[in-house]
Symmetry: C2
Subunit: 455 residues, 2 copies
């Protein structure tokens, strides 16, 4: 039996004999008895196993080592110890898989840097038990939000022949024998008969599905061959990209706010022990921060208003805020503090935003929105899309883009075009916010970053 | 308002005024009135819109074209027409986005081959409305099954430096300027400092998580650079790979059977209109086939027993069945007919199976299992994994494998090893079975196959 079942039905199993399998996380062997800190990883909570001279093979049990896998048969009893209400009084403990003394994951404090070097063992450590369960539950929260609102889950293609968004930052995908190439490459001989790369976004394809199903979302991996070694960059990460037809920017912000609150509430409800762990050991005040988010009303201001607020502030910024320019991390921080909560910043200068964003009548700004969240920075980025074919083509020409390659995308504006909007959220950025864990390498099972592709 | 809400609350909206947005799927304009077949893609069911001379701008409405997007305000009324119980009596119809006469998706029969050439429009066709909604709902069914049973959803890495399973059939991933290489490749200069490829399976990494969380599953893309142009091969597809600690082959088969029945039931319950559509227009008898699966008890036989049955049959096979050899499609078909339902075939000859499968004591077979389903062939493949380090190493040596590259995988057997098992299911293979659609190109939004990487 797995521990999730034992704990879920502990009243039912109380004073009954059960058999469990799992690993020894810690062991305190004393003269007359011993305690095993035992877990199978199905719950954050461990089970304490007590054995004594009545337990079969007592002297052998005393030598059991941390990391070993065991099978235990015993009676579930009320515990008088601190920190648990039940424990297992062992009748028989059977060693299934021994673990040598040099097991790298001994029960003591390890640095996260060290744990990254034993990436295949670190999910057994408490911190990563919590992180990767929250990762799993948050993923489910996202699916439940969109599925219960009638969205179609769309699997965007990962191998792509288009590079409109990621020029210079894409991984090439090939089956050509690159060791044998002599400076001349015939892409007709490559697997797909053309040059292909890994996608940086499924948005453009998602738009084609939004004009068929109205409400769609992607949730899948994306790739960025950016050579930056920061705490928030990974080369392979998961993105959520919803796209909604007949929805303008105001409607989009409603959805972003509702979805984020749903996901945070869902994780708090389904992972109480994990979230307590983070609050206690990773980010003090985490639970407060998250509850505050759920209760807050997100502010909506334009980029221009933000710049005015920044300019009027007495704050000394490293970068002077300017109309028509991007805003910096220090500005984001000031603004969320100014409004005491999450802020939607809308209507950005068009020159710093993507070609597909809907142009405002002022000729200078686009209907883009970034969501700034206290303690997380920019958590989502979205926009209303340009649904006017002439304006879209004009903008693509200004940016010297290849229109032929994207004829299908342009054609969506020809065949029954409609107002539509969408946003993107980096899943790992959400997890960093939810867990308080700061480095993206610690919220991805096997992170891929420049110079490192281990396991 | 979206149509899913209108239909879900049609009693509430009856005789009330509502406003909807969507596309004209068909138009019958008559002298005194007209009918618009209208959909926003949120339901398989369309809404009939009736307009007449009382509707604003009547004469203009008569010229509305198929594919155009419109906004309609009107009163939801009981319909006297066949095939629907409500319709919308239009007060005002506003053209949002026109659609030219040469719109490729006219309301007539198109071949699936033609629809593939307009992949960005085909999700608007009835068949693909049904296929991609079922794809979405089936994905959710899989998540709900595993999440409700306490599994951790594990995102396996897609870029990998290991090629133990896919030698020769992997896509290379690189940022090297391959046009400029002169026959000598220094992988230290590649993005990750080594040669990397796209994964063919997340199983080995999933095993590391199973020895931490006991119950885990992957659900993500995998890649195969196999140059085969068949109806069932794609170069990019989605796989589900559960992995369970303290679970032997019998337990694994229990899970496979329970999961498959759950997913089929879930899709039947959540997509009744779509499934009726497939039963009527794509595969006659589909619903019967699926209900039969849910009610059946899956048979369990060994590979050896299967060969004996095949040999004793009076059937004339193209390939003679032999002990110690693989079985062919014709054999699979015979066996599922013989047992009148799904069949688990276990204990396969070790030489035709992977290195990590648990070796039986006979020295000839491994604890592998393939699930053969009537009308689908092999739907899942799994095994108990070799948990004995010496036996695993011995097998790897026999196969001349690089043990250093997989030291972490081997080490799972060193640090508290345990009996564990897992299986893989190709998501598209499941969809082909669920929908009756035969070609894998028609169940993937944007299929990638040899020589083709469009959109």
């Amino acid at each position: 039996m797995f521990l999730d079942e034992v704990f879920a039905k502990k009243d039912e199993f109380l004073n009954k004999e059960i058999t469990v399998h799992g690993w020894i996380r810690n062991h305190r062997a004393q003269k007359e008895f011993g305690f095993l800190d035992f877990s199978d990883g199905t719950t954050m909570e461990h089970l304490q196993i007590v054995y004594d001279k009545d337990t079969a093979d007592f002297s052998h049990l005393q030598s059991l080592r941390v990391g070993s896998s065991i099978q235990v048969t015993g009676v579930l009893v009320k515990s008088e110890g601190k920190g648990q209400d039940v424990e297992l009084k062992a009748k028989e403990v059977q060693l299934l898989g021994d673990c040598p003394e040099d097991y790298p994951l001994q029960p003591k404090k390890h640095t996260r840097e060290f744990l990254r070097t034993i990436g295949y063992l670190r999910p057994r450590a408490n911190l990563f038990q919590a992180v990767f369960r929250v990762r799993s539950v948050a993923a489910q929260a996202i699916h439940e939000y969109f599925q219960s609102h009638g969205y179609v889950y769309f699997h965007a293609p990962l191998i792509t022949a288009s590079d409109c968004e990621g020029a210079g930052e894409m991984f090439q995908v090939t089956t050509l024998p690159i060791e044998e190439l002599k400076g001349k490459v015939d892409y007709k001989k490559d697997f797909f008969g053309k040059r292909t790369s890994l996608t940086v976004s499924g948005q453009l394809q998602a738009e084609t599905f939004a004009t068929a199903f109205s409400k769609v979302y992607t949730f899948g991996p994306t790739f960025r061959a950016e050579n930056s070694n920061t705490k928030t960059h990974a080369s392979e990460f998961w993105m959520i990209e919803p796209e909604i037809a007949f929805c303008d920017l105001e409607g989009l912000m409603d959805i972003e706010e509702e979805m984020l609150k749903f996901v945070v509430s869902y994780v708090l409800e389904h992972c109480p022990k994990e979230m307590e762990f983070f609050d206690k050991f990773v980010e003090k005040g985490l639970l407060d921060k998250l509850h505050k988010l759920i209760d807050s009303k997100f502010t909506r201001v334009t980029h221009e208003e933000v710049i005015t607020i920044l300019k009027n502030s007495k704050e000394k910024f490293e970068y002077t805020p300017e109309y028509g320019e991007d805003i910096q991390k220090e500005h984001e921080k000031y603004i969320t503090e100014y409004f005491q909560g999450p802020v939607f910043i809308t209507d950005w200068p068009k020159d710093i935003k993507a070609f597909y964003m809907k142009q405002n009548e002022d000729g200078k700004t686009v209907r883009a929105v970034d969501l700034e969240v206290p303690g997380a920075g920019e958590l989502m980025g979205g926009s209303q899309r340009e649904e006017d074919m002439d304006k879209l083509i004009c903008r693509m020409d200004e940016l010297h883009m290849d229109k032929e390659e994207l004829d299908w995308y342009i054609n969506l504006r020809k065949y029954g075009t409609c107002v539509h909007s969408g946003f993107g959220m980096g899943f790992e950025r959400l997890l960093i916010y939810l867990t308080g864990v700061e480095n993206i390498r610690d919220v991805i099972p096997y992170p891929r970053v420049p110079g490192s592709c281990e396991f």
